[in-house]
Subunit: 389 residues, 2 copies
């Protein structure tokens, strides 16, 4: 029986080994239903491409030590760029999501796609060298952008704070220069992927709320990113808040962002004669003991909690992670979120619900971008093709 150029089963074997446990040929045959000879053939292919490394088992069942096979998460690296409105974090990670080299720097996306992405290419090259790796080891590039991204094409769609980026072919532009597959998504989605990775393996349903200048939500349903029909899922910043007529930058009134967004809190402080230009200033003022800023941040937590209380009844997540600049206010903001969700959601939906600040902090985006790439590159069908290669 010939398998032609197919290597069906290789990807399934690798998917099993990605949990970090090394296994014998016999264990892998049992877990997959593949014959032992197929398992051996596929393992040879995976070892040849360094996806898998054979090891001597410490504990042997019989007289002689058995060979076990382990996922080689150091075999490949991922280049990542998490672009905010004015700042970027860039990094090289391996497939165990270990950060090998990273840098944060000012890089305003308002300068347009080509100047921004040229800088991204330069810095990623420097980081790759600093990590002691070369281009042949790069299996993919993951990019987060501060605006809506069409999932299929990886292109920004009418991004409000990214002049010149609408429809720009980010994946093709970067692939031509970096020579590897490029995955692009919006910043909130990649942060949700990062936090889901950090919470593995217990959490299947997770919400990541980014409280910054604006307010957005990344959604993990059944372990997968839920992007929605137009990729617009998670746009909670423009949900109506009861009893508010505050004007929002979107043109409506009473949006969550207009009462709890960093930009609106800074505006409220300026109206009170206090200098503040964004969410970071609001948090800095609060830390410095400004009562007005403290009141605003606590109220923002309650407003976000009120909206999330409805969403908790609807979605029944097991974990809510709060991130973004305003989340750096820590318990001041979290107290309001928790208080409102626990008092307004159903007991069954809250009895095991965790609500906490980001586990990864400023690294949530780069880890999530690497997860996005890993899910693509390590998909069983992709590994089958790579090994058949």
């Amino acid at each position: 029986m010939s398998n032609g150029s197919s290597a069906q089963g290789a990807g399934v074997l690798l998917a099993i080994l990605r949990d970090g446990h090394a296994r014998t040929r016999g264990e892998l045959a049992r877990l997959t239903g593949l014959s032992r000879s197929t398992v051996s053939q596929r393992l040879d292919g995976l070892i040849g491409q360094r996806w898998v490394v054979p090891q001597e088992s410490a504990v042997s069942s019989g007289g002689r030590p058995a060979t076990v096979f382990a996922f080689n998460d150091a075999a490949r690296v991922v280049l990542t760029a998490d672009l905010g409105a004015t700042r970027a974090r860039l990094a090289v990670l391996d497939l165990g999501m270990n950060v090998l080299a990273e840098r944060a720097e000012q890089l305003p996306v308002a300068h347009g796609p080509e100047p921004t992405l040229e800088r991204v290419v330069t810095v990623l090259g420097e980081l790759l060298a600093a990590a002691g790796r070369d281009a042949s080891q790069v299996c993919g590039v993951g990019v987060g952008l501060p605006g809506p991204v069409e999932h299929r094409s990886g292109r920004p769609v009418n991004p409000p704070i990214m002049p010149g980026w609408d429809g720009f072919a980010v994946p093709e532009w970067l692939r031509a220069r970096l020579g590897a597959p490029v995955l692009v998504d919006n910043d909130v989605n990649i942060m949700a992927l990062g936090e889901h990775w950090a919470a593995r393996p217990a959490v299947d349903h997770l919400l990541f709320i980014k409280m910054g200048t604006g307010i957005g939500c990344g959604i993990i349903s059944g372990g997968r990113l839920h992007r929605g029909a137009q990729g617009a899922a998670g746009d909670v910043g423009h949900i109506r808040v009861p009893a508010s007529e505050a004007p929002c930058r979107c043109g409506n009134t009473g949006c969550l962002e207009a009462v709890a967004g960093g930009a609106s809190m800074a505006a409220a402080l300026r109206e009170a004669g206090i200098e503040a230009h964004g969410s970071r200033d609001v948090v800095a003022l609060m830390r410095a003991g400004d009562l007005h800023a403290t009141r605003l941040v606590r109220q923002a937590g309650r407003e976000v909690g009120a909206v999330m209380a409805s969403i908790v009844n609807f979605f029944n997540p097991s974990l809510i992670v709060v991130g973004g600049d305003v989340a750096e206010a820590g318990e001041q903001v979290l107290a309001g979120v928790r208080e409102t969700i626990y008092s307004r959601s159903l007991p069954l939906a809250t009895q095991h619900l965790g609500i906490r600040v980001s586990a990864l902090g400023e690294r949530a985006g780069i880890v999530g971008a690497a997860v996005l790439v890993a899910e693509h590159v390590l998909a069983p069908a992709a590994i089958d093709r790579a090994v058949a290669g």
Copy 2:
């Protein structure tokens, strides 16, 4: 190379053929990456168990007609029971979701699990005979219950209107009598599965709202049922409605159900001296021209729309289906739902959003119960095992 008792690939072949298109061996080899000899072996196994039927292709590319292979959706049948508070619909369907025999009858779940399920077994036996099938052709049993069901065990969990059912082992009890795998879920989830099946293949993200005595929501994310961490997802009936202090049966005030549920509308009519005992009476009064009932139903549509407007921003569905007794008020209720969602949700989330009444009507539950069984029985790994026998 031996495959032992494995038939890996059989399930993948069947999954491809389930779209209703017959295909040649060569097409199946290309689509799966399996060798032609493996495809032939697996097709023989599938034909032997009647999952697949070979056919002469009408159009031939060369001189002689090619053999094509088609999913045999008539090969097996599913027994289904959609139990409401007082009425049940029972049916036999094939795997193309064609209803072969069905019956609706009074069957109050309040009589307890054993009397209710004994009647279910009796009726399903009669329907199976009426459909001209026998027990050997039954591949599974799907049951919908009017209360929360633990997904893993298929048992009711503290169901408020089902005395005696808490923790009752419905799957084991029915399996002992019907001799096939039994899948149990709550009624709103199975209706969502049915409506998703009816909307296939274009709709990946669907919300099904049941407006009856209470109000619940079934959620399809990425083509899969989203049950949430405790299986409590979709409990939108107890989301707080702004500016309402109406007491709810759950003990809180201002819940959506307390203003838009059939029970609360009937209570409001009784307070006005009009006789009404449930959602069906409210709709009947509206149809008879009662202005008070009409006003209540239209307002219920607006209240549901206001809650769903926030959920549309969060979830970005492509289709919202409204079902349940109150949905039988048709445009009277739908107008309010549409008006509020379109005015309060973001344009990106509503530009391609469909909002309509149930396509399957009273059959949504039995079709969804059959889909639940089919997804279980036809899962590729299950087919691999069945064919390996």
